[in-house]
């Protein structure tokens, strides 16, 4: 069962990584325009014609 000593903290660390990623996204305004984001991906103004 010694393997748990480092596996449990590793799992927690990965979870924390996800939590911080979410908090960063929240602060960065990624959730301020949910409907718009779904439509912006369809625009191809980055392609040179």
């Amino acid at each position: 069962m010694n393997v748990l000593i480092y596996l449990v903290p590793t799992a927690l660390g990965l979870g924390l990584l996800g939590l911080f990623a979410f908090l960063w996204a929240l602060r960065n305004g990624q959730y301020s325009d949910v409907d718009g984001a779904a439509l912006r991906i369809l625009s191809d103004d980055d392609i040179e014609h």
């Binding site: 799992a11 908090l23 929240l26 602060r27 301020s32 325009d33 779904a38 912006r40 103004d45």
Partner: protein, 720 residues
Amino acid sequence: MTEALDLSLYAKPAGEGTLGMELAVEGIACGACIDRIENAVKSLPGVREARLNYTNRRLHVAWADGAVQPAQILKVLEASGYHGHPFVPLRAEKDEAAEARRLTRCLAVAGFAAMNVMLLSVSVWSGNVTDITPETRDFFHWASALIALPAAAYAGRPFFARAWRALRSRALNMDVPISLGVILALGMSLVETANHAKHAYFDSAIMLLFFLLVGRALDHAMRRKTRAVAGNLAALKGQSAHRFAGGELTSVPVAALQGGDRILVKPGERVPADGTILGGNSEIDESLITGETVRRKVASGATVYAGSVNYSGALTLKVAVAGGASLIDEIEKLLEKAASAKSRAMRLADRASRIYAPVVHLTAALTLAGWLIAGASLHDALVTAIAVLIITCPCALALAIPAVQVVASGALFRASVILNIGDAVERLAEVDTIVFDKTGTLTLPEPRVANIAALDPGLLQMAARLALSSSHPLAVALSREAEMHVVFGGAVEEPGHGVRAIINGIEARLGSPEFCDVVSENTSSASAVCFRHGKRFEVITISQKLRSDAVDVVKSLRERGLALRILSGDRPEAVAPIALALGIESWQGGMKPADKIRRIEEWKAGGGRVLMVGDGLNDAPSLAAAYVSLSPISANDVTQARADAVFLGERLRPVLDSVVIARRARGLMTQNLWIAAIYNAIAVPIAIGGAVTPLIAALAMSGSSLLVTLNALRAGGRTP
């Protein structure tokens, strides 16, 4: 003469020589609009940033100070087919956004902790019935403590803060048992872990927080959404006024007007602010204010009110000092009285939790005492009492109502009804009497051609196209019938008389009977215009017209057992035909605001729950006095602010939909409260009996929460 548009009020410094402005944008129909709008604005030299928020239809623009005039941005938008309306975000909106972010952060932390603690707990539960070693179990419990304690300290703050505030003012709210339950459960689990016990309750405490935060975040998101929509609406309605500055005329937003300013009101425009006439003669239509459809003649020295329409001549006004106008003052006073009466009606959820909180505490205390008397050790009695506290904490109760409200408000939004107040849904469902105002509510806010059937279609089209050349309100009403929106070349307007143009080589005239050389047999032709084309002529009557679906909606409402009445400020002769057409027997005309309130109070005293639907300024006090109120989007600002909900469009159908959706939502709320009650009825005896293991607590709590959430989704179905 082109006059400058001064929008400096809305441009706010955004650092580094940049100015920023927020615009509510009207006319966004699809995703392609995002690019079109942003590219159009960015094409202006000097614009540094243009970002459209598609969710709330707002555009943020930033530009180098001095490089662009704010008015240019509006012009560019206009050229691309959109209307931009600058506005200053309300302070309350900013605070709510910060609060929403705080709740979401708490929710994220609680969710993370709940998942990880549960992972460890499930291992312990399965280990307890198989072969887990005490050392591994202790390790898992300590790991749970390490996650749960900081997470609870962070995510529990919204509850702890409110509980503390309630306790300090010697009151009891639902946050008190929640906080007590969480803190005691965590503390006890820590002691149990230190004593190498088999069970710990970290998972229950953290899951409780998670579910409660979901309910609170939903509730908050809904209030925020309604407020953002209300903010946009206010901006869309913001009009501009022509102000004399020195000798010149500048166009300024109404918000920038101050007492003593001199402004010009052109024919066909709405009066932007209360004031006294300094010069000019005209007729004004005050139907938006008093419901009266007959126009009033005004001259120098007369007082006019914001919202009335100027008909015939240009007026110069001196803007009244804020609060100086007597009509508005009187209405404000009536409003305050009526609004204070309404706040006494308590919300269903508050009522439920007020009864519930003491019961929770009492049950837990009795459990503790009971087990001690029965001879259990203090440790066992305490464990059981805390289990009772946790299991009775109202996860399902906290989710039952907000979840239904969020789904129902979404359904209302699709039915073109926008809520101003979240609990309006509950009150709409209990309505048994609907009181309609006439002008602008049952009828369309703008007058229309009344005698279409009797007119020659060719002549009508010609007259309607000619009417496009005039800004006179009657001409504007007539021009709505035009199929081709192309102005006749060479049309000349003779102010106070009419318009003339040469059509197909023959002179056409539109205007007063004298102007068209028509002997009108209709003597009460206050709302008639004449049209002459060569030898042929028509007298076109223009009047208030019923909303297209009013008859059907009124019929459906009656079939649903609602009593319908009309209270109008207009003359009885004008109300009678409308009441007859709709088959509403109980109607009264010539009502003053105070009369309307008195009638509503009488019905309320008789046990009636009155839904008031009205748009005039004279309706504002009765909207506030009624049990619940609706108002069309065309209504006066003051009125709209008092209404519990606002509906869009030219149809009356939203009134029916809102009652139907609200009744369904109310049914689901009751069902959800019953689900929560049944959950307690089953779980609490088990908890008092001392048989609740953490596994049972987890299953019971998440099961009931999921059940009420799924049930709430049914509120969003289509209306029949």
